[in-house]
């Protein structure tokens, strides 16, 4: 038994890693075909992202929003709810934090400003998820469509607000008031990484505790793995759906607040880092395992940072990183397929040994395929 438990733990990790390696290999072939030096490009990618303390600092700073968005997204995905709207929720949260933070800056102590900004960001993202949540629970509308559509609304609403009511009248460019540099998120002592990283780690740990040790977390997992079982067991399915969507929206908003108060200091029109896609790739590669988000967040952050310097030093465009992420997801889907065949073969072998036949494999929802094991 122990051996097969170990197998069940190691195989998923191995297949995620295999997907990443395959993405780098195939991505490298593309680079070579375009006449670039793939090895050199990757060298620069790693050097810039990890090789020196500047790169490491930038990577760690980048981790904060990635961690927070992914932690929130995990709650939804684990409950089988596809919150495609994290980018919109992120923007609304960022703008709220920008408006609240900048207006309070200087008038109240820094800590109060930061807390108010964070709360405003969380509330903004959460509010942006209310409409899809209500539509899903009340009318059974598919949240994939509604959250996706809310993204477009968010882009335009924030753009209008920052050009109108929330605009800093003293500036020409459409942006909120600046949060003075010294009032932004403080650094972790001894580093130049702001405390967003710690907030991100705390969020991920809280999410892990939610799923490991609480009743709502257990119920969300059941909902994600078999909704009919949740109904059969009398769980409050509507309430759980709302909870998952709102929490995931709230954390996306908090990530927006982090970027505005920690890095940007301001909410600018047309600023949209679009962490949503990265977070989806990340959470799936982490196999919906909360704590596994942390190493993957580090990896993806380093890709974002390293990738940013590839155009200049290796003549490879920044969006090559997006190609890499896309390839990872494709190869991940492949490796899950092989993994299931492998597991099925093992189970067959095991049940042949015992007297009784194992129950037939059930058809599982897509979210289960990558479920935590």
């Amino acid at each position: 038994m122990n051996r097969s438990v170990t197998r069940e733990r190691i195989v998923p990790i191995a297949s995620s890693l295999a997907a990443i390696v395959a993405a780098f290999l195939v991505g490298g072939i593309f680079l070579e075909l375009r006449g670039k030096d793939a090895l050199n490009a990757y060298q620069i990618l790693f050097q810039r992202g990890l090789g020196n303390s500047d790169g490491l600092t930038e990577t760690l700073k980048q981790m904060a929003p990635v961690l927070i968005v992914s932690g929130g997204l995990l709650i939804a995905l684990k409950a089988g709810i596809w919150n495609i709207g994290v980018d919109g929720q992120f923007l609304i949260g960022a703008l709220m934090a920008g408006a609240v933070g900048a207006n309070l800056a200087g008038d109240v102590p820094q800590a109060v400003m930061i807390i108010c900004g964070a709360v405003a960001g969380f509330a903004g993202g959460l509010a942006w998820a209310i409409v899809p949540a209500a539509l899903a629970v009340r009318f059974g509308l598919n949240e994939i469509i509604t959250t996706l559509m809310m993204n477009y609304v968010a882009v335009n609403v924030t753009s209008w607000l920052v050009k109108g009511p929330f605009k800093d009248p003293d500036r020409v460019a459409p942006e909120t008031k600046q949060i003075p540099y010294e009032l932004r998120l403080p650094f972790i002592p001894g580093t130049e990484v702001h405390i967003g990283l710690i907030i991100g780690l705390v969020v991920v740990v809280l999410v892990a505790i939610l799923f490991r040790s609480t009743v709502p977390g257990y119920m969300l997992t059941v909902l994600g793995r078999n909704k009919r079982a949740a109904i059969h067991a009398g769980m409050p399915v509507g309430l759980l759906t709302v909870l998952a969507l709102l929490l995931s929206g709230g954390f996306a908003g908090l990530a927006g607040a982090n970027d505005v108060m920690g890095v940007q200091g301001v909410f600018k029109a047309n600023w949209d880092p679009g962490y949503g896609f990265t977070a989806f790739a990340l959470v799936y590669l982490a196999r919906l395992n909360s704590l596994a988000i942390i190493p993957f967040a580090f990896f993806f952050s380093f890709l974002l940072i390293g990738g940013a310097s590839m155009p200049r030093r290796a003549d490879v465009p920044t969006y090559y990183i997006q190609i890499l992420e896309g390839l990872m997801l494709i190869f991940f889907a492949c490796s899950v397929y092989f993994e299931r065949r492998l597991m099925a073969a093992w189970n067959r072998r095991r049940s042949e040994g015992s007297e009784e036949h194992a129950a037939p494999a059930p058809i599982e929802s897509p979210a289960v395929v990558v479920g935590e094991v």
Binding site: N226, E356, P362
Partner: protein, 547 residues
């Protein structure tokens, strides 16, 4: 009346006509189940041939073989006297055999004409208008007023079924297989369907009607074949039916389907449940009279998941210490009745109370709190989370209670593990440990776990839907014995099953559901198998002849 043995039929019939389809000695096995065994069947043009049998008698398998879904392990199929191999459903269509399945295969968002030509060999550019002219004619013939351009989702179930029939005829099918065609229809629509069948008959189409509704089968059929446990146990020829009259024919068919003999009060001799461990049945009915009422339904009506009426005006009372067996052919509202008691299905009228507490439409947790327990027949679909561990599944319904969680929030993993372990020990569930994924357990062990989980909540009223389905004999006996001992400890048990034998084995009273109605309840001592069988197949109105 002539009942012919299943073997040897092929040679003796068909003097008047050449059969359009001849299935000879077809056998098909799935794992350990022999679904068909040496079944022969002949279809004649211009004849409606009813194939009757209980659930699991092998009707659908036989038809799936003819429609190309399965390949027989042994036996041959001839069309117009020439042996053929039917490789796939589209192959069957090409050879003139069209099937209308119980669950329709139309695309709701496409128009009638688009559905009809879907999958046909067409050129790249669709010739819709040519097809439309032909289709318009057929629609008129079938009494459909809808235009060919109407989207199918706007049609009623009866109309959709006609479109399905048109769809296969449009491709030139001369053999039409109908799988339980009346199960989704209203009585008026059933009549309409029968008119169409008579018409098709006149045009020389050979129709196969697969059904378990006896009355309907006799109304339109010329020839009736009866399957039981995968074998053909009889065939009634048109002349036989005409000669002996309906009542006698029905009686004979019921005997053939259930294997009981007229007047017998015991389950049939080859019933597996009769043998083996031998349960000491204390079902006398006397003890039940003294108990207090634990379950009361008054005028309950409820809809199924598709919105059709599934439970019609059911009232019943169940006392402590009593087991009520609900017999019926699958899909007559038994499942929905169970779900209503468990609080899992809303009622549109009527009331439900458990141990004196009204729980109508208050949901699963209110019903559970009042003392309802429900073991579903859909073990992996809704009864459990297949990918989760045994332990996690063991507390699916009780997770927010002590000791599994503190304050309804913090999980107590050790308590959950301990509880799962105690269920495993008590019910002898075979699993390596509590952290094993549920999918790795056998069906019988999953069933034991679900039953154990339910009993651990100490329910006052326990509803079990097909609790022994797919279990080996020993486990099935264990489950039934457990239910009996629950009742003996003062609980009320509702046992829903399509297996008459197990119902008779442990029930104090036996109710029969037909078309959503509880058509009759008998004390165990007064049960006559043929009466029950007849009620299952035809409902109340037609049962008087047997009462």
């Amino acid at each position: 009346m002539v009942i012919r043995a299943s073997a040897g039929i092929a040679g003796t019939l068909g003097a008047q006509d050449v059969p359009v389809v001849q299935m000879k000695e077809i056998s098909k096995r799935f794992g350990t189940v022999q679904a068909n065994s040496n079944v022969s069947l002949q279809l004649f043009p211009g004849e409606v041939h009813a194939v009757l049998g209980e659930n699991g008698a092998g009707k659908t398998t036989l038809m799936n073989i003819l429609s190309g879904m399965y390949h027989p392990d042994a036996g041959t199929i001839e069309i117009n006297g020439a042996p053929v191999t039917i490789a796939s459903p589209s192959d069957a269509l090409e050879q003139g055999i069209g099937t209308v399945y119980q669950h329709f295969t139309l695309v709701p968002n496409l128009s009638v004409i688009e559905n009809v030509i879907l999958g046909m060999k067409t050129r790249f550019v669709l010739d819709l208008s040519g097809a439309e002219r032909r289709l318009l004619e057929m629609l008129g013939d079938f009494g459909l007023t809808a235009s060919p351009r109407t989207e199918v989702r706007h049609l009623s179930l009866g109309e959709r079924q006609r479109v399905e029939i048109i769809k296969v005829l449009f491709r030139g099918s001369r053999v039409l297989l109908l799988d339980e065609p009346t199960s989704v229809l209203t009585p008026v629509e059933v009549e309409g369907l029968f008119k169409i069948l008579l018409r098709l008959k006149a045009e020389g189409v050979a129709v196969v009607l697969i059904t378990h509704k006896l009355e309907e089968a006799l109304e339109v059929s010329d020839r009736v074949s009866i399957l039981r446990q995968g074998r053909k146990v009889g065939e009634l020829l048109p002349d036989d039916i005409a000669a002996s009259g309906r009542a006698a024919t029905k009686k004979l068919i019921v005997e053939l389907m259930f294997g009981g003999t007229a007047g017998g009060e015991q389950p049939n001799a080859d019933s597996q449940h009769q043998s083996a461990d031998g349960i000491q049945t204390t079902a006398t009915g006397d003890a039940a009279d003294s108990g207090r009422t634990l379950l009361e339904l008054r005028g309950v009506t409820a809809l199924d998941s598709r919105g059709a009426k599934a439970v019609r005006d059911i009232s019943l009372q169940l006392k402590a210490g009593e087991i009520l067996g609900i017999a019926g052919v699958d899909g007559n509202g038994q499942k929905e009745l169970g779900e209503v008691i468990a609080g899992q299905r809303h009622v549109t009228s009527g009331s439900v109370s458990i141990a004196g507490q009204e729980i109508t439409n208050k949901g699963v947790s209110a019903a559970a709190k009042a003392g309802a327990g429900y073991v579903t027949d859909d073990r992996l679909g809704e009864g459990a989370v297949p990918g989760a561990s045994v332990a996690e599944n063991a507390v699916l319904k009780t997770i927010s209670r002590r000791p599994f969680s503190k304050g309804g929030f913090w999980l107590d993993r050790p308590a959950i593990e301990a509880h799962a372990q105690s269920l495993i020990d008590e019910f002898n569930v075979k699993t390596p440990d509590t952290s094993t994924r549920l999918t790795l357990l056998s069906g019988g062990n999953i069933q034991k776990l679900l039953l154990a989980r339910e009993l651990a909540t100490d329910p006052q009223v326990l509803v079990c839907n097909k609790p022994t389905n797919g279990l080996d004999l020993k486990t099935a006996q264990f489950v039934l014995q457990t239910l009996r001992s629950q009742a003996d400890q003062g609980k009320a048990v509702v046992l829903i099953s399509s297996e008459l034998e197990e119902i008779l084995e442990i029930s104090d009273r036996v109710g029969v559901m037909y078309n959503g109605e509880l058509v009759a309840i008998f004390p165990r001592a007064e049960v006559k198998i043929e009466t029950i069988g007849h009620l299952m197949l035809s409902g109340r109105d037609r049962a008087e002849a047997f009462a």
